[in-house]
Structures are given as structure tokens and as C-alpha cells.
């Protein structure tokens, strides 16, 4: 009998006990559905992390000033003034694999014509954009003379450009940051959300000297060259861990910290923060994988169970088929195809369920999901393998029946 004929016979046999067949498929349906959701969620998380890495810039370290103690009260990280521009210059000079950019940060109200907007002001050096791999979409970057001479020029993020200027071209327009006029020389490319979910494009970048002198003011920065953060990028191909240790050693030396004392700064490897995030989404995927494999296993056992019942119920039919000329392999094939039909139909329903659930998770929970045809193919192939694996024993049992006894079976 050809495969199509076997398939038709299998469908007819399964249609006799529709409820039983449906219940038998359930394990496979849930298992395959879970596999698809698992891979969609896992791949979605992976994609999101990859995007964030791309948005943040790869191989980044973030050095923040240590906690300041004021009358016994410890203030937040970055509130102290333990880091200075000279630390950044020293890193650039001493560690060739590292590119450091000092940064001062503060909020300010900006005004252009009738429009105004409250945003973040970043005082930094041109190295910052290089470290963050942040290209300029329109206009130009800072000239060296503007950096050293505290020029009143600024680069604006995409969000600021939209909020202040709408459809007007911002280049060469003059905006006021805390009443100080600044010329917009460039607009940055869109970066999207940060790891913490803040809008990275809601920012204005000015030369660090300008920020200190004109905008963020010496009131908050008592020490002349103090900065709140230093961004460090390890050159491509270097281990960020190694660069991290070098930066730590250099800063401890410059700050004259005795061995055994705490750092007066905090050094974070952003790569590791993101790996940790990726790991947590991987845990979720693993959990689903466990559910899926248990469900597929139980589903497979269910198929085996029902096929064994079916072989017993249809012993006389098997005897008759043998009497009219079915060979061992015909009977084996018939019951194997029946088991595979069960598992494949279950698998296809599972695929539909998995796609539906993935899309639902995507739209209701707002999770990033990525359906892949590979994963769907894999799940269906898996259902097929389960059908063959768990269907084989009952099918062999049927094929090995003695025709005389099978015909006489009551």
C-alpha cells in the first residue's frame, strides 16, 4: 500500500474515536506549542539584547564617581567628585586599548522661539560619541577649537530635535540653554531606549568646558576639573575584563588608594550587565523547554498507550489483513503511519497554537517575540520523530501477531 493510502486508512481509523484521538494529541499539541513559544520568546529576548548592545555601543565600561559622604550620610554614586578630566586623559595616555570620555551631566530647560523642552545636558569630549558609536545624522561634530575654547555649540538628540523644531531644520539655529545661547551644529542619529528604558535621544551634548562654565555651573562641581562619569570603550578585539582591571589599577594609583581600601569610584562593565539580562531570559526559555520536553514525553507515552489499546481492539482486523495478504511490514507501516498521523496532526495544531500564543504574548505583554520558520520546522520534525519513536513498539506488536490467533481473538 502506498503512503497516501496508508495515511487515508490511518485517518479513518482515528476518526472512529475522535475524542480519544483528540485527547491523545493534546500532549503533543501543548509540547509543540511550548517549543514554538519558547523559541519565539528566547529569540525575541536575544534580539532585544543585541539591539541594546548596538544602541549602547559594544565593549563599554562605565566609571562613576564614588559615593560622597556628607555629615555621615552617604550620597548616591556620581554625587562625589573623585573623578576628574585628568583621569580620563590619563586613561587615554596610559592604556592604549582604551578610549575614555569624561562626562558631566545635568538637566536644563531649553528654549527655541516659542518652544521649550526640559532635557539632559551632557558635557563631554568628542571621544564620547566615538565610544558610544553614535554617528551624527546631520550637520557636523565639535571642532578641536570649540572643545578647548568652550565654544557655545551643541549637538542635539533626535527627540530634542523633534520636540523643539518639529519639521524645521535645526542646523545653525540658536537655542537657549539656561538662557545661554547655543548654536546647533549637528543632530545625532536615533539610539532608542537604554537598558533602563529611558530615551537616549532626549539629550543635548555640549563641550565639557562649556558645560562646566556656562550651563551646569561650578555650584554643583566645586572641584575645578571634577566629572561625574567617565565612559571607557575597550578597543575591538580586547577583553573588556582585562581593560576593566587596567582602568581600575590606574585609577587606584592616581587616587593614591592603599591596597585593601575600597575603590572611591564604581566601575561597571556594561557588557556583563547585558549578559546578565540575556541570562535571565535564557532561564525563562529553559523553563519553557522543560515544560515542552515533559509535555512531548507525556504526549509520546499517550500515543504509545492509545496505539497499544488500538492494536488490541483491532486484533481481528489485523488477523484479517494478514489472511488476505498483508505482510509484516504492511501491518508495521499501517500502525506506524497511524501513530505518526496522530503526532503530526497534534504537531500542526501545536504550531498554530504556538504562533497564536507568541503573537498574544507579543501584543498583550509587550514582549519582543521572534517567530522563526526554522523553529516551526524543528517542532514539526520533533513531533514526527515522537510519533515514530513511540509508535514503533505498538506497531511491531501488531506486526508480530500470529494470524491464526489474531483471527480467533474475541
Amino acid at each position: 500500500m502506498n503512503l497516501f493510502g496508508l495515511f487515508r486508512v490511518a485517518l479513518r481509523a482515528l476518526a472512529i474515536n475522535k475524542l480519544r484521538s483528540a485527547l491523545t494529541m493534546l500532549g503533543i499539541v501543548i509540547g509543540v506549542g511550548a517549543v514554538i513559544v519558547m523559541i519565539a520568546v528566547g529569540a525575541g529576548a536575544q534580539k532585544r539584547v543585541e539591539e541594546q548592545i548596538r544602541a549602547l555601543g559594544s565593549n563599554l565600561l562605565l566609571v562613576m564617581s564614588g559615593a560622597r559622604t556628607q555629615g555621615g550620610v552617604r550620597l548616591a554614586l556620581g554625587s562625589g567628585q573623585t573623578l576628574s578630566e585628568d583621569d580620563a586623559i590619563a586613561i587615554n595616555r596610559e592604556i592604549p586599548e582604551a578610549l575614555a570620555a569624561p562626562a558631566l551631566r545635568g538637566g536644563a530647560q531649553v528654549v527655541w522661539g516659542n518652544a521649550n523642552w526640559s532635557t539632559q545636558i551632557y558635557g563631554t569630549t568628542p571621544e564620547y560619541l566615538e565610544a558610544r558609536e553614535w554617528p551624527i545624522a546631520a550637520g557636523r561634530g565639535f571642532e578641536p577649537s570649540e572643545v578647548s575654547g568652550a565654544g557655545k555649540v551643541c549637538l542635539i538628540g533626535a527627540t530634542v530635535a523633534r520636540q523643539l523644531f518639529g519639521s524645521t531644520d535645526p542646523i545653525d539655529q540658536v537655542i537657549r540653554i539656561k538662557r545661554v545661547p547655543f548654536t546647533v551644529i549637528g543632530v545625532l542619529e536615533t539610539k532608542g531606549q537604554s537598558l533602563m528604558g529611558t530615551d537616549q535621544d532626549d539629550v543635548i551634548i555640549v563641550p565639557i568646558a562649556t558645560a562646566r562654565g556656562r550651563v551646569l555651573g561650578s555650584a554643583t562641581q566645586a572641584k575645578q576639573r571634577a566629572v561625574s562619569t567617565i565612559w571607557v570603550k575597550a578597543a575591538e578585539g580586547y577583553d573588556t575584563k582585562l581593560v576593566e582591571e587596567q582602568v581600575r589599577a590606574l585609577l587606584r594609583q592616581r587616587h593614591r588608594l592603599q591596597p585593601g581600601t575600597d575603590d572611591d569610584f564604581s566601575l561597571r562593565n556594561l557588557q556583563e550587565v547585558m549578559s546578565a539580562q540575556e541570562a535571565s531570559s535564557r532561564v525563562l526559555a529553559l523553563l519553557l523547554a522543560a515544560v515542552a520536553s515533559v509535555s512531548l514525553l507525556v504526549g509520546g507515552i499517550g500515543i504509545m498507550n492509545i496505539m497499544l489499546v488500538s492494536v488490541t481492539e483491532r486484533t481481528r482486523e489485523i488477523g484479517l489483513r494478514m489472511a488476505v495478504g498483508a505482510r509484516t511490514r504492511d501491518i508495521l507501516g499501517q500502525f506506524l503511519v497511524e501513530a505518526v498521523t496522530l503526532s503530526l496532526i497534534g504537531g500542526l495544531i501545536g504550531v498554530a497554537l504556538g504562533i497564536g500564543t507568541s503573537l498574544a504574548i507579543g501584543s498583550w505583554l509587550g514582549w519582543r517575540v521572534a517567530l522563526s520558520p526554522d523553529a516551526i520546522g524543528l517542532a514539526v520534525a520533533f513531533a514526527f520523530v515522537i510519533g515514530v519513536f513511540f509508535g514503533f513498539y505498538p506497531a511491531r506488536k501488531a506486526a508480530r501477531l500470529n494470524p491464526v490467533e489474531a483471527l480467533r481473538f474475541e
Binding site: G5, L320, R321, G325, A326, R327, V404
Partner: protein, 228 residues
């Protein structure tokens, strides 16, 4: 000779003890005979029929079907012999449930590997021959006992076998229907088909021209009679 059987022995192991179901049976059956096999239960007549039908293999002895030593064949070759040369009719019809009559009839042709069109043609022709051409698409549950047995006979005939083996073909039918079925067998025999049937009832055995009686695994009597 269509069938030559020499010293056929069949021994079953029933736990510790051995049961000698056939204790040396020899017989010759010619093409076109109509034979009734009779005997009390446990006499070995069913074992004899199973061996003739190639459903089982003898412990010792020889069985030639149309000159071929089928007692030496392996399971797959035996399946082929059953498929091409033997037609079976059972007491309880053994039709596939929820399957139209025509598909029941074509089942042996499926295993013979015939294409669908040819199978359907032959199956329809056989149903016509047993008088059920108009019921081809009825399921067994929609047919009477006699009609079901006619479908089973059509199924036995569809491969144009050398002989038909019928195991108590009227055992599940009322006397009127039994008569109809037996008349059908007689008609087939008159057209040249070799028919061997097992029966308890002497009314049924009357149709045969030769009666073989079994007792304790041996042939008790093998005699010709004037068929009804």
C-alpha cells in the same frame, strides 16, 4: 493435484505439555472439488484448515499447493500465497467496520499492489457476481448477515484464487440465509472453483461432493457422497 498433503503434523506447546493437534495427515485434493471438513471440536479440523490456508506452518510433513512446497516458505512468501492463491471466508465475516463494501472487497488487491482504478473495477465486478452491485457503498452495519457474507465471498474471489477456504461460513446465519450462501458456493464450484469448508452441520455438508471427517488429529473417514 491442486493440493498434496503428506504426513502433516502440528504440535502446540501449551505451557508444560505438548498438544498434538495433527498427528500425521495425508490427503490429495483435485482442482474443482467441493469438500466439507467435519469433526468435533479439538479433532484437528481447524488446524488442518489453518495449514491449508498458509496461516500457520506445520511442525513436520509436506504441503504442496499447485506443485509448490509451501510448507517451506517464510512469512512474507506465505502472505503472498494467501494473497494470490487462497480466498478466505469466515464465520463472522470479518469485514472492516465503517468501510464501504467495495473497499472491503478490494482489500486483498491493495496488498497485491494493484492501482486504484483496477482495484475498483475488479471489486465492482465481484460484487455484481455475488448480487450486491447495488450495495457497493453500504457499510457492513447497513447490510444483513447474508449480505455481509456475500461481501466477504466477493472479497475472497477478487484475486481469482485457486481455492476458497470457508470456516463455518453459515455459523452466524439463519437457516434460510445459510441455504442461500451454500447455493452461492455450489454455483461457484460449478464454475470450476475449488471450495473447502469446515462445518458442524450436516445440512451444510450435504452440498459437498466429498466429506473428510477428523478425530483426534487424524482423518477418520474420507469419502465421496452424492451432493445435494
Amino acid at each position: 493435484m491442486l493440493i498434496e498433503v503428506r504426513d502433516l503434523v502440528k504440535v502446540y506447546a501449551m505451557g508444560e505439555t505438548e498438544v498434538r493437534a495433527l498427528a500425521g495427515v495425508s490427503a490429495d485434493i483435485a482442482q474443482g472439488e467441493f469438500i466439507a471438513v467435519m469433526g468435533p471440536s479439538g479433532s484437528g479440523k481447524s488446524t488442518f484448515m489453518n495449514l491449508l490456508g498458509c496461516l500457520d506452518r506445520p511442525t513436520s510433513g509436506e504441503y504442496r499447493l499447485a506443485g509448490e512446497r509451501v510448507s517451506e516458505l517464510g512469512p512474507d512468501r506465505l502472505a503472498q500465497v494467501r494473497n494470490r492463491q487462497i480466498g478466505f471466508v469466515f464465520q463472522h465475516f470479518n469485514l472492516l467496520a465503517r468501510t464501504p463494501a467495495v473497499e472491503n472487497v478490494e482489500l486483498p488487491l491493495v496488498y497485491a499492489g494493484l492501482p486504484k482504478k483496477e482495484r475498483l473495477e475488479k471489486a465492482m465486478r465481484m460484487l455484481d457476481r455475488v448480487g450486491l452491485g447495488d450495495r457497493a457503498h453500504h457499510h457492513p452495519a447497513q447490510l444483513s448477515g447474508g449480505q455481509q457474507q456475500r461481501v466477504a465471498i466477493a472479497r475472497a474471489l477478487v484475486t481469482e484464487p485457486l481455492l476458497i477456504l470457508a470456516d463455518e461460513p453459515t455459523g452466524a446465519l439463519d437457516s434460510h440465509t445459510s441455504l442461500e450462501i451454500m447455493s452461492l458456493f455450489r454455483e461457484l464450484n460449478r464454475q470450476g472453483m475449488t471450495v473447502i469448508l469446515v462445518t458442524h452441520e450436516s445440512d451444510v455438508a450435504r452440498f459437498a461432493a466429498r466429506v473428510i471427517r477428523f478425530l483426534d488429529g487424524r482423518i477418520l473417514r474420507d469419502e465421496a457422497q452424492l451432493a445435494a
